[in-house]
């Protein structure tokens, strides 16, 4: 490992390819599976390159103890954690300062999207656990959390679409991997937007960046966020259009059966109608 550090890596080669073969503005592969847990109100499993996250959402439900309730809006409790085996050296199972900070900023990013004012005195509890990692776990968690919230049917202004941009070897790159994040001049800038309006809900940066580089990085990031947005929407559509197609099939089948039954009844000799059938169903409700 020590030798590797001294060696000067070419982060982008003459053909514009990065160490893992990607182009400068190319994301790693993203796989999104909503509705994977039966008990949670909403859930999502998401793979982003080597990063793997599982997210579950409960709520809006009564916020307890009562004194934490806000009569004007719902609370958002976002918990980001890394499994002990998700990193090269085993992580202490106790949450560290890093996890606490990420939980806070990601929770705030999601608050920007949810119609919190519709659910006073409640809490929306989100937990995101990372099981494998290779740079960019917070954006992985945030992308999945946003899908899980939609899966839970929580009304939102828009999905939250995140991405990390940064610099390695003097190049502004989209979605850095661990090797690029370890570059001597590395800059890491995780961000998230509400794609419909372009509003920024998460922005962090560490490293040294010139103003020109910042602009370039931000624009590249917005482009990346929009690609993530497309994938999030596709995953949700796939999940819910398939389900509704199945439901449609069920409805059509039932309708056909009903038609058949009616035909059979029509063909049969008419029975005298009883008074009971004249009575409206649930007649006392109006």
């Amino acid at each position: 490992m020590a030798e590797e550090k001294n060696e000067v890596l070419t982060y982008v080669d003459s053909e514009g390819k990065r160490l893992d073969g990607r182009k400068v503005d190319e994301l790693r592969e993203i796989k999104i599976l909503p509705s994977v847990l039966s008990r949670a109100d909403g859930s999502c499993y998401l793979e982003w390159g080597q990063n793997k996250v599982l997210v579950g959402v409960y709520g809006p439900r009564e916020a307890l103890p009562q004194h934490i309730q806000d009569p004007t809006k719902a609370l958002v409790d976002f918990v980001y954690r890394m499994a002990t085996f998700s990193v090269p050296d085993r992580k202490n199972p106790r949450p560290g300062r890093r996890e606490v900070e990420i939980s806070k900023v990601c929770g705030k990013a999601l608050e920007g999207a949810i119609f919190l004012e519709r659910f006073p005195n409640t809490t929306i509890d989100i937990s995101a656990y990372i099981f494998d990692s290779n740079a960019g776990t917070r954006v992985t968690a945030l992308a999945a959390a946003s899908v899980a919230l939609a899966d839970a049917g929580i009304p939102m202004r828009d999905l939250v679409s995140p991405v990390a941009v940064g610099r390695a070897g003097g190049h502004i790159l989209l979605d850095l991997n661990k090797q690029e994040e370890d570059a001597p001049d590395a800059v890491d800038m995780p961000m998230a937007i509400l794609p419909r309006t372009g509003e920024v809900v998460l922005l962090q940066m560490d490293g040294l960046l010139s103003k020109e580089e910042w602009l370039k990085a931000f624009q590249l990031g917005v482009k990346g966020c929009r690609t993530v947005y497309k994938k999030q929407k596709e995953a949700l559509k796939k999940r819910y259009l398939e389900t509704s197609a199945e439901q449609d099939k069920g409805i059509k089948k039932a309708a056909k059966e009903l038609e058949k039954a009616t035909e059979a009844k029509m063909a049969a000799p008419e029975e005298p109608q009883t008074n009971d059938s004249e009575e409206p169903i649930g007649g006392d409700s109006k």
């Binding site: 579950g56 499994a83 085996f85 050296d89 937990s127």
Partner: protein
């Protein structure tokens, strides 16, 4: 509170059905739910496994780390099992330090593996009295629909079966390079039998657990050895019931073990 009333109503139904020889999901009393085992789910883990027992969902990962041996066993490494009930797994799980439930799960899983002698701890020794391997087996509960005990034990074995021990050079663990596979000599499997309205049943659903008087977990090996027991719940078992439960646990252990290669 609303939750509790619903569970109580469900319990009545579960007990009523048990008396008629039925279960709420139509299984027979000795029938397990569908078991799915997926290994290699985390590249950074030294061994990993996800087990789905019906809707119950557990993710396990193993990490080896070098430590000083215990003074009373200078030539032996060891294992440590941790269980985290992730808040997503149930509306009642909360983030925080492990509670009694998760500690019991971890300790029962630990005993099943440790006492079966599936791992020869002396093989985990690097230099006597100085460096030994500790296998950290961490289990994360993703969805609780009953029988976490068996799902935890299965996921731990699944992760250990594919676990590789890293290289150790100049007093340092070299990540992503391995000296060899962990030698797992046996596959201990836990089978938990619950008693509902006086009836013994295997692989209880959450609704059945809530309705049960007591549970009895038995860890067995392929040689039909019994390596760990755990009785839980406030109800009682007769000796005859325990014998029945052990026989059932051996038979079910065999069946569950066959899911691993």
């Amino acid at each position: 509170m609303k939750e509790e009333i619903i569970w109580e109503l469900r319990s009545d139904k579960v007990k009523e059905l048990a008396k008629q020889g039925k279960r709420i999901d139509g299984r027979s009393f000795d029938e397990y739910r569908k078991l799915e085992i997926e290994t290699g789910i985390s590249e950074n883990a030294h061994g990993s496994c996800r087990v789905k027992l019906g809707e119950t969902d557990v993710i396990a990962g193993v990490k080896f780390d070098v430590a000083e041996p215990y003074p009373d066993s200078p030539g032996e490494g060891s294992i440590t099992v941790g269980v985290e009930l992730m808040p997503m797994a149930s509306p009642v799980f909360e983030p925080g330090p492990p509670r009694a439930d998760s500690i019991e799960l971890a300790r029962v899983t630990d005993r099943g593996i440790r006492e079966s002698k599936a791992i020869d701890f002396s093989e985990l020794c690097i230099t006597e009295g100085e460096h030994v391997w500790f296998a950290f087996i961490d289990l994360y509960i993703a969805n609780d629909n009953g029988n976490l005990f068996d799902a935890c034990a299965l996921s731990a074995i699944g992760a250990l079966l594919e676990a590789k021990i890293p290289k150790f050079e100049d007093g340092k663990v070299i990540q992503k390079e391995f000296s060899g596979k962990l030698n797992l000599k046996k596959k201990p499997v836990l089978a938990t039998i619950s008693k509902v309205a006086g009836v013994l049943l295997a692989d209880a659903l959450l609704a059945e657990e809530k309705a049960s008087e007591a549970r009895f977990s038995v860890s067995t090996t392929e040689n039909e050895e019994l390596c760990a027991f755990q009785k839980g719940g406030s109800g009682t078992f007769t000796q005859k019931e325990l014998d029945q439960a052990i026989d059932l646990a051996i038979a079910k252990g065999k069946e569950l073990r066959s899911h691993f290669k």
